[in-house]
């Protein structure tokens, strides 16, 4: 079927827009329904200083504008493309999980080891089998740790496994890697 004028003028892809608009409106409505329980209206406090004022503005705006956005969408019924797009939204869940495993591992095995492991596993998972990529991943991991932990001294705790090392080496590793 040929596109309507509204569809042609729509900014961005049309697939998945209805799903997002419905989800956003649904969450906004749920949050707005909780405003009485989650915020307080204080007596003898000026309107501008009321704790409920700004959540109400934010949520009111979310509900109003997302409802108008939904109303103005060129296509208001779900088609197969919308569901397929929604399925693609679930793909990065895997990468988010890898990221959280990396977060969980760092205080246990240390920043250097966890970063090397993380980059190597993910490089492999992404289908890079050439040695050059593995070396590039390893080099990148070491560079990141040296720049951020050793040089810029960002706050990342030392690994629990460092406790099993001799005192001098342990201190060095906790401070720098």
């Amino acid at each position: 079927m040929a596109d309507t004028e509204e569809e042609r003028r729509f900014v961005g892809p049309r697939r998945g827009q209805i799903v997002f608009a419905l989800l956003f409106l649904g969450v906004s409505l749920f949050l707005l329904s909780q405003i009485g329980e989650q915020t307080k209206w204080m007596n003898k406090v000026k309107f501008a200083a009321q704790p409920r004022l700004w959540p109400a503005i934010g949520l009111g705006g979310m509900v109003l504008f997302s409802a108008l956005h939904l109303w103005k969408l060129p296509r208001k019924r779900m088609v197969r493309d919308d569901w397929q797009e929604a399925k693609i939204w679930l793909v990065p869940l895997e990468f988010a999980l890898w990221f959280l495993i990396y977060v969980w591992m760092t205080p246990i095995i240390g920043y250097l080891l966890s970063t090397i492991l993380f980059t190597q596993v993910l490089v492999f998972r992404m289908g890079y089998r050439k040695r050059s990529y593995k070396i590039a991943g390893l080099g990148f991991a070491i560079c990141v740790v040296v720049i951020f932990k050793s040089f810029l001294q960002v706050k990342i705790p030392g690994g629990a496994i460092y406790e099993y090392l001799p005192a001098a080496l342990r201190n060095f590793l906790i401070l720098n890697f």
């Binding site: 004028e5 892809p13 704790p51 988010a96 959280l100 992404m126 960002v154 706050k155």
Partner: protein
């Protein structure tokens, strides 16, 4: 002169010099890699700069902000893919030049135009700084509230065709900022009795999630592209000479960049659009635009590079960031208890001028670096997308985890990363969320302070600056409403002209049946029948 010397004294430190070097080279590299961009880099580096002096940290971030657009021109010209979003217009004339074998000329011209835009903007602002120092104290709580509101409205209406969802997302940002323990009465807001929400949702976590993690997810989910780039031969100095032949286009475009950069929420895209349109209209060869016109390339690159310095004006003078990158920089000020705003402009003018000087030096360093290192830089354009995704994911960890070593922050960042991924897939704007968070916080504080002495609503705008900003808000809303109504009329007309089915006589009658059935309608019908009787009627 004393001010300049004082500013040089602020900059004369080895760590500032290193910051300048890292910022400029790093920014160019980041800009040259399509799919990274300054927002991702600044989001990742933000927590690392917290341990530095404000001038050092801000120099690194400013360096990345200011020089990424230089680097972004490289893939825009060579492979028709903008390195940063603001280099999109560069592809219009840059790539056609490459296609006809003039890549070296295009790159050289882009560097020269960028350099001119950057330097012009900084010089304008250094000259303009004393005036700003006089104007800034006129801004009290009410004026800052109204300016923040104006910024938020401008950000929303700037997303043409997406204003409704941009407004919803800006409101989402305002809501996110209100989560946690409220600072005056210490009541909890939307914490759902979860202790991790009591301290609120950290801006850096949201920024890292929406910009860095989401970009990593986009790259990891996508495919690698195979690129072939030929080695450039010859020098890159001819662009400076060619730029000299178009002084009018360059200076007008740079002026657009300065003015648009200073207005919160407007930024590079509007500046580029205006300067490109101006250059095309006044050109002797307007038909060349979009087909490799040197004037088009100059207009686009000059305008976008004039913006970063100008964008620092609302941030430094009023404490109001005009776009996502300056919003991130605001947190560097807060971490060091340096409150940007009228006081900063009055009391620490040397600091402000030092920042501008840093930008000036940075532009020179970037130009020199690019003139000699472009051939080596081209290689970074070839880094495969998914490998880049792995790198960004590993770097995002440093940004989020080093904030307060919190696993909850990482989970929240991952959630915002997924949300950002969806927004990017749907081409929906992310910036309104960040500005909603930052400007929402400013508006809450300033409204509370401003309303303390207000008895009647009109008192809020009874000062001249407040009245001017209020009128600007009204004008912006009127212009936007007019635009929406005009778009609606055009759409209706298009729909009518593109209609496939004809409107037959029966449909016309059916539409008018209510009128025709009235006494007046019957009378008019009889009258018409009298003068033009139906052919089937007996006479």
């Amino acid at each position: 002169m004393d001010l300049l010397l004082a500013a040089f004294e602020v900059l004369a430190r080895w760590d500032v010099v290193i910051a300048l070097l890292v910022g400029s080279v790093g920014g160019v590299l980041i800009g040259a890699i399509p799919g990274v961009g300054p927002a991702v880099a600044i989001a990742i580096l933000l927590p690392a700069t917290f341990s530095m002096d404000p001038i050092v940290g801000l120099t690194v971030l400013l360096g990345i902000y200011g020089s990424s657009m230089y680097g972004g021109a490289i893939p825009a010209i060579l492979i028709n893919t903008p390195g940063t979003a603001v280099n999109a217009l560069t592809t219009y004339d840059g790539y056609p030049m490459t296609a006809r074998g003039e890549a070296r000329r295009a790159l050289s011209l882009a560097y020269s135009a960028s350099f001119f835009g950057g330097v012009f903007s900084v010089i304008c602002l250094i000259l303009f700084a004393p005036v700003l120092a006089k104007v800034a104290p006129l801004f009290g709580s009410r004026e800052i509230f109204l300016a923040a509101l104006l910024g938020l409205i401008l950000v929303v209406v700037a997303h043409r065709g997406q204003a409704l969802i941009a407004a919803a997302l800006a409101c989402f940002g305002i809501f996110l900022n209100s989560v946690g323990l409220e600072p005056v009465k210490y009541t909890k807001r939307y914490t759902f009795d979860q202790s991790f929400l009591s301290s609120g949702v950290d801006l850096i976590v949201v920024v890292l999630g929406l910009f860095a993690l989401s970009q990593a997810f986009v790259l990891l989910q996508g495919e690698d592209e195979k690129l072939r780039i030929n080695k450039l031969r010859g020098g890159l100095f001819q662009g400076l000479r060619e730029l000299g032949r178009h002084p009018r286009v360059a200076s007008v475009s740079a002026s657009f960049g300065v003015v648009m950069g200073m207005i919160p929420g407007v930024g590079e895209f509007t500046a580029q659009f205006l300067s490109y349109t101006y250059a095309q209209r006044t050109s002797k060869r307007p038909e060349d635009f979009g087909r490799g016109s040197s004037e088009g390339l100059i207009a686009a690159e000059t305008a976008n590079n004039a913006v970063p310095a100008a964008a620092m004006v609302p941030l430094l003078a009023l404490g109001i960031p005009g776009e996502a990158l300056t919003a991130m920089m605001l947190s560097v000020f807060y971490v060091h208890n340096v409150v940007p705003g009228p006081q900063l402009f009055q009391n620490q003018m040397d600091f402000v001028v030092a920042l501008y000087l840093a930008l000036l030096i940075l532009n020179v360093m970037v130009l020199v670096f690019l003139l000699f290192a472009t051939n080596s830089l081209i290689k970074v354009v070839k880094i495969p997308n998914r490998f880049l995704g792995v790198c960004i994911l590993a770097l995002s960890f440093v940004g989020v985890y080093s904030l307060r070593n919190s696993v909850t922050d990482c989970i929240l960042a991952a959630v915002f990363g997924l949300f950002g991924f969806i927004l990017k897939r749907l081409s929906l704007p992310i910036v309104p969320i960040i500005l909603g968070m930052v400007l929402g916080g400013i508006m809450e504080v300033k409204l509370r302070a401003g309303m303390a002495r207000v008895k009647e609503p009109f008192d809020f705008i009874d000062r001249p600056v407040a009245m001017i900003i209020f009128l600007m808000i009204i004008v912006v809303l009127i212009i936007h409403t007019r635009q929406v109504l005009r778009d609606r009329a055009v759409l209706k007309e298009k729909k009518w002209s593109a209609k496939h089915t004809s409107t037959n006589f029966a449909q016309h009658l059916s539409r008018r049946k209510n009128y025709l059935s009235t006494e007046r309608g019957k009378k008019v019908r009889d009258k018409h029948l009298k003068y033009s009787p139906r052919s089937t009627e007996r006479r």
